[in-house]
């Protein structure tokens, strides 16, 4: 905390205070990481290793969790298994060791695919509508602009469960319940508020003079928007897209209430993975790991834009 005893600027913290600060922050970061590391370690443990006590840090890695995640299995008699032809793959092999045979693929991949489809579909729409609306609000005098913007923001204050009842009824009438289209439209609506607010901030920062110059050169408004504003806003659009993607990817409440089968996404599905006699933790951990990897990558790509995204652009760094 003391910053008076250094030769640098008076506000530059001293070497020791930096070291202490660094040590505390790194300790916190490492504690933060433990659950994540544990998810990964559990995913490469065999089921008995995963529930041994004390928790095992050294163990023989196994792909059983991933095999169990991706397949459904049935228990068979040892005689029957012995009569089968040689196993064709690793998963076959580990499954047979537990007196089971692979019956077919599990629902994980379809659910994961639903997550991809719904997250990317809604992100594309939210960013498209958001960019247009943000440009509209940023460049033109729209009557009641402030009220409209506040209205757009306030839609995020509603608890998802509160609107879930009428949306459930509405979707039932329209035949949209448990469809990917229904979920895409819903997530687009939730995300468009964030997209408008964020992108308005980004577009506000592009000088109007660029478009004016383009229009003097003979471009129309729409051409100026497409050829001058859009390229300038690319970074902002990309950041916004990733935030929308993360929301749609992680969303649980609507997905759990409005989908039950064909359009179910991964978040409601992963907790339902069970093995024989309770939750199959290596399989759950494997599903969780696969599900978290894209987000980990995005977090690292996004760290500079993070602040704007989580505060609706209310705070700039």
């Amino acid at each position: 905390m003391s910053c008076a005893n250094s030769a640098h600027s008076v506000v530059e913290p001293s070497f020791t205070s930096k070291r202490i600060a660094g040590a505390i922050v790194i300790l916190y970061a490492l504690i933060t990481l433990i659950p994540l590391v544990w998810i990964f370690l559990t995913s490469i443990k065999s089921p008995p290793d995963s529930i041994s006590y004390p928790p095992k840090i050294v163990f023989t890695p196994s792909l059983e969790g991933y095999c169990n995640l991706l397949t459904t299995r049935t228990r068979q008699t040892p005689e029957y298994i012995a009569s089968l032809p040689e196993p064709t793959g690793t998963c076959d092999e580990v499954t047979r060791k537990r007196n089971m045979v692979i019956a077919g693929p599990s629902n994980f991949l379809p659910r994961f695919f639903n997550s991809l489809l719904i997250a990317f579909g809604s992100t594309f729409l939210a960013v498209l509508l958001g960019t247009m609306a943000a440009y509209g609000f940023s460049r033109f005098r729209v009557p009641l602009a402030d009220d409209l913007l506040f209205f757009i923001l306030s839609t995020r204050m509603m608890p998802p469960i509160a609107v879930a009842i009428p949306i459930y009824l509405m979707y039932r009438e329209l035949g949209l319940s448990d469809t990917a289209l229904g979920m895409i439209l819903l997530y687009t609506a939730v995300n468009v508020s964030l997209a408008v607010w964020l992108l308005k901030g980004f577009i506000d920062e592009i000088p109007r003079e660029y478009e004016e110059a383009a229009m003097i050169d003979g471009y129309t408004r729409l051409q100026a928007f497409r050829k001058v504003v859009l390229p300038q806003a690319t970074t902002g659009i990309a950041a916004t897209a990733i935030f929308c993607l993360i929301f749609a990817w992680n969303e649980y409440a609507f997905a759990a209430l409005l989908t039950s089968g064909s359009a179910q996404t991964a978040p409601p599905f992963i907790p339902t993975i069970i093995g024989e006699g309770g939750q199959d933790w290596p399989a759950v951990a494997a599903g969780t790991t696969i599900f978290l990897i894209p987000i980990l990558v995005f977090t690292i790509l996004l760290r500079k834009q993070l602040l704007r995204g989580i505060t609706f652009g209310a705070v700039r760094k």
Partner: protein, 321 residues
């Protein structure tokens, strides 16, 4: 949109080079005003269809005895009876209290830890950018998926959390039943929420600290203000609007808390972790009391909206100081 765009462009390309702008605009017939509405309308229409229309429908339902599992039964208006039942239901008051308890403790913990971390990271030690990114990871993950895995960490016999606590304190692991013990279960959720969302508060606080200009500290140094004094008279007040903003966003989010609680405890043991969203979900999708659930939803929304508005006023006062 695409079709009209390309036609417009072709026409414009043909004429743009030689014709003054005003003529082009008249030829195309698309005034700036029209473009503005054309651009804004789709977003507004979508929000009206998927946010406002359902909200109005919920308001309507809240005055009826409609049940979603009996769509063909006659719907009758019941006046304010649903609201009366909601506001006098001890279970709902209990759920509101539980919610308030969660919101309070998560905000206190996340603000204190988050601000401390931001203050330390602001020292700009070597590698601070890298470690900051690491700390930010939890808030980007899915509360449901990660919350589900925390159930495993909390298992008394096999979980890492119980093992670590037992190793640190010497309490037997069988006594660390985070999710099964009535007095511990709320804290199990508060811990996960704090793990996930402290980085959020930290990030906003960090922005606040970075916004304080150096010359203020330089002036304080010249005046020989102690570091302690500088902290309380400069750092905290200057960062306060940012801290308050973080509290606002976390407060709204945690008032709606649903996914993490559902997966960690499902509201149990008993109903000690039953927050408002869970009660609402039970009323709406398990008891199918659609009308009453809608009334509760409206009460919740009005409460969040009202509290947020009062809070924003306070925030603006702090900003103006």
């Amino acid at each position: 949109m695409n079709i009209s765009n390309s036609i417009v462009e072709k026409a414009a390309d043909a004429t743009a080079k030689v014709t003054p702008i005003s003529v082009v605009r008249r030829v195309r017939g698309l005034s700036d005003r029209a473009i503005a509405w054309l651009f804004i309308a789709p977003a507004i229409v979508l929000l009206l269809a998927i946010n406002i229309f359902p909200l109005i429908w919920a308001i309507y339902l809240s005055f009826t005895n409609y049940r979603a599992n009996r769509p063909n039964a006659a719907v009758e208006g019941v006046g304010l009876r649903n609201y009366e039942r909601v506001l006098t239901d001890p279970d709902i008051w209990q759920a509101m209290q539980t919610t308030a308890h969660f919101v309070f403790w998560t905000i206190v913990l996340q603000t204190v830890i988050g601000f401390t971390l931001a203050y330390l990271i602001d020292r700009k030690f070597r590698g601070h950018a890298f470690w900051t990114t690491i700390i930010l990871i939890p808030m980007m993950l899915s509360p449901a998926v990660v919350g589900n895995f925390w159930r495993f960490l909390y298992e008394p016999q096999i979980g890492l959390f119980a093992y670590a606590v037992s190793w640190l304190t010497g309490i037997a692991t069988s006594d660390i039943r985070m999710l099964g013990d009535v007095s511990l279960a709320p804290w199990a959720i508060i811990i996960v929420d704090t793990w996930m969302w402290t980085p959020y508060v930290m990030l906003i606080c960090l922005a606040g600290l970075r916004s304080i200009p150096d010359y203020i500290y330089e002036a304080a140094e010249v005046d020989r203000a102690s570091p302690w004094r500088q902290f309380w008279s400069i750092t905290v007040p200057m960062a306060l609007p940012f801290i308050m903003l973080a509290v606002l966003f976390r407060g709204i989010e945690n008032f709606k808390m649903f996914d993490m609680v559902t997966l960690l405890t499902g509201g149990g043991p008993g109903s000690v972790t039953e927050v408002a969203s869970i009660t609402l979900k039970r009323a709406a999708f398990e008891s199918w009391a659609t009308g009453r659930a809608s009334a509760f939803a409206i009460v919740l929304f009005v409460a969040v909206f009202g509290l947020a508005n009062i809070y924003v006023r306070a925030l603006n006062k702090v900003k103006q100081r």
